[in-house]
Amino acid sequence: MNELPTDLRYSKTHEWARLEDDGTITVGITDHAQDALGDIVFVELPECGRKLAADEPCAVIESVKAASDLYAPVAGEVIAVNAALRDTPEAINNSPYDEGWILRLQPDDPHALDSLLESTAYAQLIADES
């Protein structure tokens, strides 16, 4: 069973989002998503300063057999990316919610996160998909 922290919000496309104290939002992919992708070998990160619409593809996560887009869970501007993933993409496999974070957004709407799923609803989504 994959790990599913209750303090995060989730998208239907398997991203997680965390509201930080400073109002920014950290984004990564869920434990379920990394498990489905398998060993991650490369992450293509966006440039800082890029403005993203909600659901816009903004990064690519590659395993040996698959390449998966990361979709912005909410609209906003990229203010940081996890540059460490360039050398250690496996951090997403080992620590999807912590060291494996992918990017940080300054959301256009401070309440945008409310539109995303809670952990229970996301758990149901995974159950339905399988």
Binding site: V41, E47, V64
Partner: protein
């Protein structure tokens, strides 16, 4: 039945196992009105003997001429070993090495080929080949637009002194993606593409500049200055090079202050017969930072479970079978068998052998140009330094001269006038290491006689 091993008894047994009474029944899901009643437009079968006689007769009709054309396809000596080895069934009849453990031969050849192209071009990484030099350039243009993060420009500067067929192929393959090709004129005196001509476009930045060394006229470009101009304008540099010339010429990775970003070209001179234009193999190399934008297959070295070295296809997430509509290219194959030949050719010749071939071509072409230029009305069009091709002007229209030469068994050169009317009556000639002094003399005498009869 040709190439079908079934005996009548086996067919009956197999149908019984399936539970049908005839082969015809196996097509029962195809709507009956669509079924074909025979292939009327196809001739009756021939035996191997008959087809051999047919093909030999056709080959006799195509007796080769003494070849003084290069223009993108070069006739070189191919050591006997090359196609003896490349024709081995284990290379010839293998598929793409998707099951790496059962394809270590092919995969190691690809890795060795990539290593040789890296050595020749001075860049960091190579793919396992593309269809040919022209389509490789088109792919390089698409790659440069993807890879250039400093500019959002879709403009590419492309020299007029690049092979006309390459320019056409680039147009076919890049126009649908909205890429704009801006043609850079050459200097009428030297035959070179000059920095001033790049600057005259007034462009402040563009996605890439294509630099052709030697260029289509055989003239050597001032690659350092062109490369530095491109980099100063946020453009990537795409080098289009003849791999044979790299035995002697500065590798693209060392051009200018930063080196070219991508190098591509036609690998045909490395052990591939002329074959009326194909199959050949395009190659492509790049700096490591761009490797994820490189199209086509790439072999990589890795380890097996016992820690032994082995080879596999890698970076496959770039490719169409995984990335589908977002892939770097739609290409699936490489020109595997041709690459096998090229790898064996380069292994046999080594750096010394390749340099000797290159030098012999240069020397023969120089001799040819001098000898032909001694004929009244014939002379070089350009003053720039040359590799193994030359542009010569003629005193009369080219087609009739070439036709008369062909009747004498001589393929006298490539008529430049249709593509470069500004040059008037001009031909592009090449004498590779295969051409003997006697053949060169014979060409000169024939040409002299033709011109004398024309005047």
């Amino acid at each position: 039945m040709p190439f079908i091993p079934h005996t009548p008894e086996e067919i009956i047994e197999m149908l019984a196992t399936i539970g049908v009474s005839s082969i015809e029944e196996l097509f029962d899901e195809i709507p009956a009105e669509l079924r074909l009643k025979g292939l009327a437009g196809v001739p009756e079968a021939l035996s191997e003997l008959e087809v051999t006689q047919l093909m030999q007769a056709r080959a006799r009709a195509d007796q080769p001429l003494i070849n003084f054309i290069g223009a993108g396809a070069y006739e070189h000596h191919i050591p006997a070993v090359v196609w003896q080895l490349a024709s081995r069934g284990e290379f010839y009849s293998a598929y793409t090495p998707y099951q790496a453990e059962a394809s270590q031969g092919t995969l190691q050849v690809l890795y060795e080929f990539q290593s040789m192209m890296v050595a020749l071009t001075g860049l960091d990484a190579a793919n396992a080949s593309l269809y040919d030099g022209a389509s490789a350039l088109a792919e390089a243009v698409l790659m440069a637009v993807r890879a250039n993060r400093q500019t959002r420009s879709d403009q590419i500067l492309i020299p007029r002194a690049l092979h006309p067929a390459y320019r056409r192929v680039v147009r076919t393959l890049t126009e649908p993606q909205g890429i704009e090709l801006i043609e850079i004129p050459y200097d009428r005196k030297t035959g070179q593409t000059q920095v001033e001509a790049l600057a005259a476009t007034g462009i402040e930045e563009c996605a890439a500049v294509v630099i052709n060394q030697p260029n289509f006229f055989g003239v050597l470009e001032e690659v350092d200055a062109l490369t530095d101009w491109a980099h100063a304008h946020q453009a990537l540099v795409i080098a289009v090079v003849n791999p044979l010339s790299l035995a002697l010429l500065k590798p693209p990775g060392e051009w200018g202050n930063r080196g070219a970003d991508i190098a591509c070209g036609e690998a045909q001179p490395l052990g591939m017969p002329l074959s009326s234009g194909g199959p050949y193999a395009g190659f492509m190399c790049c700096k490591l930072g761009h490797v994820r934008q490189l199209p086509g297959r790439i072999a990589g070295r890795t380890i097996d479970r016992a820690g032994r070295s082995g080879f596999t296809l890698t970076l496959q997430a770039r490719e169409q079978h995984i990335r589908r509509g977002k892939a770097t290219s739609n290409i699936c194959t490489n020109q595997g068998l041709m690459v096998t030949a090229a790898t064996i050719y380069l292994a046999l010749l080594g750096a010394e052998g390749l340099a000797r071939v290159a030098a012999a071509c240069c020397a023969n072409t120089s001799l040819l140009a001098e000898r032909l230029s001694a004929i009244p009305g014939v002379g070089p069009c350009f003053t720039g330094p040359c590799f193994h091709e030359r542009v010569l002007h003629l005193p009369v229209a080219v087609p009739v001269v070439l036709e008369t030469l062909a009747a004498e068994g001589i393929l006298g050169g490539f008529d430049l006038n249709p593509d470069y009317p500004e040059l008037g009556a001009a031909i592009l000639v090449c004498a590779t290491e295969l051409r003997t002094p006697e053949e060169i003399e014979r060409y000169a005498q024939c040409l002299q006689a033709i011109l004398a009869s024309q005047s």
